[in-house]
Structures are given as structure tokens and as C-alpha cells.
Symmetry: C2
């Protein structure tokens, strides 16, 4: 059980996006197994938008990189337009070998810190009500998010959207 | 009271986006008076994204044009990524002189028809809980939307997000 923890110590988290990250995100998100091909494409398109438009894209990233350059995990977030410091936490994904290692919560904490650094007061995230996302819902609850509403059949019939929110600063 | 109705007959609705529509949308949305400068910029940016990336932008438009070329109203909508035929009805705006003329509901009906033509099963829209948006909330309820949840303080403290949904086809 020590091995993954040692490996975590070799992981560097940075916010610099390069072209190869499109393919790295595709590999990572596909490995997760949870996501539909559409969702995988969507994850990659956000990296592409970032590369093309920079901050103006509205998408910001943290990458947890192994010494090999491969990703162990990543997050994507950005301000919600026309709100007072509300941010969307779009993606948080960790490869299966790092699930349960503590890496996800390290990335989540780091993401919320950088969000606050650029003006975030609240973090919102959306996830599915279906069983494959149960671990994700439990994780978010554990790290301080509360469910702020369910939109029934939002993704498709039988697949609801759960909206979670976390206050990052006092208001 | 006949005059606005006659003018409506001169209004042509089309879905063709040209560069001048950026400025026309800015003028229209500013005239509405409801929207913050940030929101006005956001409305214009969606037109710009459409011009740059076409369908790939995810933003589609209907423009209600006066013979002069000026806009009497417009709508913006698009598919919600990774959902089964869920669409976002991002914007519906009509100049003050056409409010109450029936133009808004003509644009809304036309928008939902073209949405269904490209695969929409449900239309979602989001609006503020604050008094300036009361007429909008009443309008959407009248034309078949139901409130599907409120996210408290979503836009800013004291300004909630109301999520509305309308089924466009049987599922």
C-alpha cells in the first residue's frame, strides 16, 4: 500500500496547458471508464478551446503529471459568466490506479485554492444521479460540497443532474 | 394599437448570422435595460463565437429583423453537450417597443420548432429570481415552461437562479 503514496510524491501539479495535453486528457478520461464517448470528446474540446483562446476561453486547468509526462489526474474549472465569483468545477478525474490514493482530494484542494486566487467565492459542480457516479457524489459531499438541487431526467430519461455547491469564502 | 401588429408583419425571422449582428445584438440587449454590462458583453460574445466557429460553437440564433435591418428581437439556443436532446434556450430578447406585441412568443415558438428540427427533446432556460425578471418568469410559465428548481444565491447573494424546462417531444 505504500507504493501509490510514494508515487504521489513524484506527481507535480501545474496549470500550464500544452498541445499534448489534449491527447493526455483523452487517455485519462477514457481510462476512467465512467464517461461516454461524447463526454470524452467534450473534455478534450475544453483543452482545445483553452489552447486556442487562453483565459478568454473560460477554461482553466490543473494537471497532475507523472515523471513520464503521463497524467495521473486533472481538473478543469472556470468562472460562470455574469455571476459574482461563482465558478464551475467542470472536471475532476484521476486514473483508476490513483483512485483512493488521496490524489483526487489533493487536486480538488489545489483547484479551489487557485479558484479563490482569481476571485472565486463559490464552486459549483454538476454530476449524474446514476450508479457509476455514486463514488463521485460521495467524494464531493466528503470534501464540503452540498447538494443544491436535482434536475430530473436532465441528461436523459432516468439520468438526473445533481447540482453541488461549496462556499469558498464568507459572503 | 394596430400599428405594432402591422409592424410585426414586416418583421422577418431568419437564422443567418452576419458580422453586423454583433453590434445589433449589443444595441438590442442594451435597450432591454434588464441586463448588466457583463451580460450584454456575454450576449455579443455568443454571436462572435458563432461567426468564428459555426455550428461547432454550439450557439444557434434566430433574428427578427425590421425592414431597416435593425433587430426587433432575437433568440439564442444550442444543444447541451452530452445530453439526449436537451437544449439550452440561452437568450430571448425583444426591444421595449415590441414587448407585449406577441413578437416574443413568435420568436419563442419559432425557436422551439427549429430546435426540434435539429433533435431537441427538451428546452431548458435559466433566469434570475429578482424583480426585473418577473415578467420573463411569467412569460415562460405562460408558454409552457415549468420551474424545475431554484439555486439560491447562484448569480450573487440575494439573486437566485430559476431553472425552467419544457418538454418539446414525448419521451
Amino acid at each position: 500500500m505504500n507504493e501509490p503514496l510514494c508515487q504521489i510524491l513524484d506527481i507535480k501539479i501545474d496549470d500550464h496547458v500544452v498541445r499534448d495535453d489534449m491527447e493526455r486528457v483523452r487517455v485519462l478520461v477514457t481510462q476512467c471508464g465512467n464517461f461516454t464517448p461524447d463526454e470524452v470528446d467534450m473534455a478534450v474540446e475544453l483543452v482545445e478551446a483553452r489552447l486556442g483562446q487562453g483565459d478568454k476561453s473560460g477554461y482553466f486547468f490543473l494537471f497532475a503529471r507523472l515523471p513520464s509526462g503521463r497524467l495521473a489526474g486533472y481538473s478543469c474549472y472556470g468562472p460562470i459568466a455574469a455571476t459574482d465569483g461563482r465558478f464551475d468545477f467542470y472536471w475532476l478525474a484521476v486514473t483508476p490506479e490513483y483512485q483512493g490514493s488521496g490524489l483526487a482530494s489533493r487536486i480538488q484542494v489545489a483547484t479551489e485554492e487557485v479558484m479563490v486566487g482569481i476571485g472565486a467565492k463559490r464552486s459549483y459542480l454538476e454530476t449524474s444521479s446514476t450508479p457509476p457516479y455514486e463514488a463521485a457524489r460521495r467524494f464531493y459531499t466528503k470534501v464540503g460540497y452540498r447538494m443544491d438541487g436535482i434536475n430530473r431526467d436532465f441528461y436523459r430519461k432516468g439520468d438526473d443532474r445533481c447540482v453541488f455547491v461549496k462556499a469558498l469564502v464568507e459572503e
